[in-house]
């Protein structure tokens, strides 16, 4: 028994290792394929041939491709993710600086998405094929099909330009920028620490629209999954037994069916949280949100190779980690998988 779980662990560790190496090969290839000469990017167009060769020597641009790869991996293992050509800062510092804005946005989005998605999914499953089910399914379908950047703009036109209910682009209004000292990078927390309620409410006002639009797309996913998990449970015989025994409908739904899908829901929400990164790339552009998504696109547009490679690598690692986490959650909370 013990050695069995040990081999299982070994196999999983091997899988992760191979996947990570593959990920590194992929990001390396993307970086090498980019139509940017890394040496020219550092020294500029005017530098002479001697300088060119010296710099090429130093960053290893003249080595054979496989040696460049080993150099890349060894740099990464030493915690060196390269220097951003645009800002001259280590890429990892830049990313750590922009990450809180995205986490703030994504966290509110997932609260919205899961907070509405799970109850709606259960409601749709319980009222299967009734009008309310059709309405909910239509809403989720729209959520799947809409281009999120467009919804963001329509939201801005309606709620900002016409109704003037929410703030426009950015995390706060321009005149509040830099008003509170940056302690954690999370603007809501920072403004609370500083006790500046004005900035806090302004930030909430700016967060509301992008977070709910981002949350709508994850709500669509969470609702659909909740509905199908719930239907699986409701069709099983133990539910009929519970009802025949005389338990109320509410009790069978919440204490029996829902109890059995909780673990699945946690893993779904974890994966949806990661997928928000994808929506964030577009939503942050629409709302001029200075986060990770905007950082990726800006660097892709100017061809900052080191920054792009690190961002892609980071996204890959986040997704591998989330997948592992959801597997682990299953194993911990669901005794049937043991």
């Amino acid at each position: 028994m013990k050695s069995e779980s040990f081999t299982a662990f070994g196999r999983q560790a091997g899988t992760i290792f191979v996947t990570l190496v593959g990920l590194l090969v992929l990001t390396f290839c993307i970086g090498r394929m980019m139509p940017v000469d890394p040496v020219r990017a550092i020294i500029g167009e005017e530098a002479d041939q001697a300088t060119y060769e010296m710099v090429a020597e130093r960053i290893g641009a003249n080595l054979p491709i496989y040696q460049q790869f080993f150099r890349y991996v060894s740099d990464l293992l030493h915690g060196d993710f390269g220097t951003s050509i645009r800002t001259g800062q280590p890429v990892i510092n830049d990313i750590l600086h922009v990450m809180p804005a995205t986490i703030e946005l994504a966290t509110f989005a997932i609260l919205f998405g899961a907070g509405l998605g799970i109850p709606l999914g259960i409601l749709a499953a319980v009222k299967r094929n009734k009008p309310i089910d059709h309405v909910i399914r239509f809403l989720t379908l729209i959520g799947h099909s809409m281009p999120i950047f467009w919804t963001g703009m329509i939201g801005l036109i309606i709620f900002y330009a016409v109704l003037d209910l929410v703030g426009g682009g950015g995390r706060v209004s321009d005149f509040y920028i830099g008003m509170v000292p940056e302690t954690t990078g999370f603007l809501l927390i920072d403004s609370l620490i500083a006790g500046d309620w004005e900035v806090f409410w302004d930030a909430v006002n700016h967060l509301l629209l992008p977070a709910s639009i981002l949350g709508y797309s994850s709500m669509a996913y969470i609702t659909r999954m909740t509905r199908s998990f719930m239907l699986d449970q409701l069709n099983q015989e133990y539910i009929t037994t519970a009802r025949v025994k005389g338990l109320s409908k509410n009790r069978t739904i919440w204490h029996h069916a829902f109890a059995n899908i909780r673990v699945q829901l946690v893993t779904i929400v974890a994966l949806a949280y990661g997928s928000l990164l994808e929506g964030a790339v577009l939503i942050e552009t629409v709302f001029s949100w200075p986060g990770f998504g905007q950082y990726i696109t800006n660097n892709m547009l100017i061809g900052d190779m080191n920054a792009v490679m690190t961002c892609v690598l980071l996204v890959g690692i986040i997704f591998i980690a989330l997948n592992l986490l959801s597997d682990a959650l299953y194993k911990i909370f669901d005794p049937r998988t043991r």
Binding site: M34, I142, P147, W150, M153, I154, E278, V281, V286
Partner: protein, 301 residues
Amino acid sequence: MAIETLNTQDRGMSALLSNPNSSLRRLMAIIRELLGNPSSGFGLIVITILLLTALVAPLLAPYDPNAVNLGNVLQPPSAAHWFGTDELGRDIMSRIIYGTRISLTIITIVSVIVGPVGLLVGTTAGYFGGWYDTVMMRITDIFLSFPSLILSLAFVAALGAGLENAIIAIGLTAWPPIARLARAETLTFRNADYISASRMQGASSLRIIVKSIVPMCMPSVLVRITLSMATVILTAAGLGFLGLGAQPPLPEWGAMIATGRRYMLDNWWLVAFPGGAILLVSLAFNLLGDGLRDALDPKQH
């Protein structure tokens, strides 16, 4: 009523074809089933309209999509310009109509890349198994560990912005789910008696895969491709919006929204209509895919 008419039409068609082709009849039955359901019928009709519009765009479009008219910029929707005009006075409706050609190009090329690649990787991995299967599935997993937009973004950044590269990038990211599916399907009938029978008759592995396994995977792969077209449309529009896909002045819907963004707060029609077109097509593919799954997959019934 509508279904009645279709039924008689279908009978008429069968009578017409004195040598009834069974696959054509099957197709007609599927189309009939799709049209019988309001949601998949809607999907099928929208996509048919998309195809026809792309085909006869010059006849339908009231104006030249690239005709600049600086005396007539940013006009709201009116009888002359149903969807208004953009910042260069171009007719937005005509641009959307011509945009269907770009969408159709993207969809066609991506399916032509993704279907065969996914089928090839999936069926061979499932059929041969062993280390080849492991390697192929690891590669698939690496691609699957990215959200499709971010991976396409990275590929476009590497290849350079533009419509062709955007299509290639989307193709590169869209095959893994199909490979996974084809492999899973292959595993279910790899050891079926009829496969063993043809192997014992001396059929080569290539022949077994092409003649016996691929056809069995086709229905579910088709459903999967249809559903993924909804995502492909959204990803292509997203790339266009970020300035990494089709470049202006091409009337690609995402790129139209990107240029309209600067004027949108006072001129909503610049972004509203192209985005509505994207939503409609993506919705149609989702509905059609769901309908196809019900029509092709007997397990659902």
